[in-house]
């Protein structure tokens, strides 16, 4: 019974963690510009992230170690430090995007410029980590994250044509704007396979003290949780395709995205969008800050844990404190939050092999995994998707930069 509750909670958690600024921004743009035709990118990313999240849970359960910890041991300090630094940098950009998302939500609501909100928002995120425990962070994010289900409700209210919807899952060349289509496909994949998700999940399995009896629940949590998250992500695409595309509105700014729920919910639509954006970003910002502090601590062998008092894990607490402060500075600098988000997502796709491939090597290491090593099937799926996403991202990013002057 307790386990079923755990599974349910895990699923809900991943919805909260899954939908973040990246998914909202990329999906809204994709739906508004290309209708349903990028749904396949969410599907592709989701398949990969299900495998990765399941693996990271399994890895921690079986080996008792977190991923970062084990990667450093296997690859040595010199081999580890470059991918590690790269992933931290990307985490920082994504965290800045998340904070930016919250600030934009507040700007939409109050009309006060988003930069003004950077410091209060960063403080709020930090304060929750400083005073809260792991359960507060995880479950709180999860429960509030349910607001994002409104996108799913909107899909049913607006009633998309099922056949057209299904066609979106088959990759096809769009009529025009190929470079932008490619860039969005890459960004969607990057937003879906966020490395912090599985780093966080692996640390979570340790913090929650999962034992071997969790191997099967872990599989359900990963699959169902990530799938539900993906469905909401897809719902954003569909709603944008139905509400914005016919009007001829392209999402270049969050202001435009904020209109997408109005046709479905009328005057509540605007507030629901703002709430979804703020809450999803807030949850993701918490998880990102934690995931980054976890990885720094695990990389250098420090004591870590969200349940510890800041005083007894000073290096860990300082890590997220500094991290959030840096991200707040990026928001303060006034970079366009939408552009920042999209580029962070595309860069996530570029560095994906750096985090995912070493992890894949560990998953095949019988010293850690014993009989629970990866199947060929999961190796190949992850390998292919990750490499594909990275190669495409390398092509797509320069094209997008040229295209948007």
């Amino acid at each position: 019974m307790k386990k079923i509750l755990g599974i349910a909670l895990g699923i809900v958690t991943s919805i909260g963690g899954f939908l973040d600024v990246g998914s909202i921004a990329t999906s809204a743009q994709a739906g508004a510009a290309f209708g349903y035709s990028l749904l396949w990118a969410v599907l592709l990313g989701t398949i990969c992230v299900i495998f990765l999240v399941e693996m990271s849970g399994r890895f921690s359960i079986v080996s008792g170690h977190t991923i970062v910890d084990a990667i450093r041991k296997r690859f040595g300090f010199a081999g580890f430090i470059v991918p590690f630094a790269a992933s931290l940098l990307v985490n920082l950009l994504v965290l800045a995007s998340e904070l930016g998302g919250i600030c934009v939500a507040l700007q939409l609501l109050t009309g006060i410029r988003f930069q003004v909100w950077a410091i209060p928002v960063a403080l709020a995120v930090w304060l929750l980590l400083w005073l809260g425990t792991f359960d507060v962070v995880e479950d709180g994010t999860a429960l509030f994250g349910l607001v994002t289900l409104c996108f799913l409700v909107a899909v049913f209210t607006l009633g998309p044509e099922p056949r057209e919807l299904a066609a979106g899952f088959v990759p096809r060349l769009p009529g025009e704007e190929h470079a932008h289509y490619l860039f969005l496909a890459v960004s969607i994949i990057g937003a879906t396979i966020a490395p912090y998700l599985f780093l966080f999940y692996s640390s979570g399995a340790i913090e929650d003290k999962w034992d071997k009896s969790y191997i099967t629940p872990n599989r359900y949590i990963a699959t169902l949780g990530m799938s539900f998250g993906a469905i909401i992500s897809m719902a954003v695409i569909v709603v944008a395709a139905l509400a914005l595309k016919p009007e001829g509105i392209r999402v270049e700014e969050y202001e435009q995205a904020a209109l997408m729920l109005v046709p479905a919910f009328g005057r509540w639509g605007f507030y629901l969008f703002v709430a979804s954006l703020a809450i999803a970003c807030f949850g993701a910002a918490l998880e990102l800050s934690l995931a980054s502090a976890y990885s720094v601590s695990q990389a250098f062998g420090w004591n870590w844990g969200e349940d510890l008092e800041p005083r007894s894990a000073a290096r860990f607490s300082s890590a997220y404190t500094i991290f959030i402060a840096l991200a707040a500075l990026i928001v303060l600098s006034g970079l366009n939050p939408m552009k920042l988000t999209l580029f962070s997502m595309a860069i996530t796709a570029v560095i994906l092999p750096l985090t995912a491939l070493p992890f894949l090597v560990l998953m095949n290491d019988a010293r850690y995994m014993g009989e629970h090593v990866n199947s060929h099937f999961s190796n190949i799926v992850v390998l292919l998707i990750v490499l594909l996403a990275a190669i495409l991202a390398v092509v797509a990013i320069p094209l997008e930069i040229i295209g948007s002057k």
Binding site: K73, W302, N303, A314
Partner: protein
């Protein structure tokens, strides 16, 4: 386990103190090259500067300059195989982490940062 692969099994392994508190990683391994008999492991090091030296001397200098702010004494922290209480995926050694040199940064941050923030005590 009678035979051990030093690079795979020991280098960069998590070191725990006698109460299972994380102390750091095995950042360096010192070999004593002896005349006429096989080299032996003299001691293992847990020290940030040692780790950065593996990337190059320049990084070690930067790390050392930075570390001077919080380091007190006993750097680099070294232990011998004799102090190892348990060796598996982690290495557990017979010391008290709170009093060991690798915790200098922890103490320094508590002192300079955490204590000054409300709720940090």
């Amino acid at each position: 386990m009678k035979n051990i692969d030093l690079v795979r099994d020991v280098l960069d392994t998590q070191v725990l103190d006698r109460e299972q508190r994380p102390l750091g990683k095995v950042d360096g391994i010192a070999l004593e090259l002896r005349e006429g008999s096989p080299p032996r492991v003299a001691y293992l090091e847990v020290d940030g500067v040692t780790a950065w030296r593996r990337l190059g001397e320049r990084y070690a200098r930067w790390a050392a300059k930075l570390a001077r702010h919080w380091q007190r004494e006993g750097h680099p922290f070294r232990f011998t195989w004799r102090q190892v209480r348990d060796f598996g995926i982690d290495i557990e050694i017979d010391v008290d982490a709170e009093r060991a040199a690798p915790f200098d940064l922890e103490h320094w941050l508590r002192e300079k940062l955490i204590r000054r923030i409300p709720g940090g005590r």
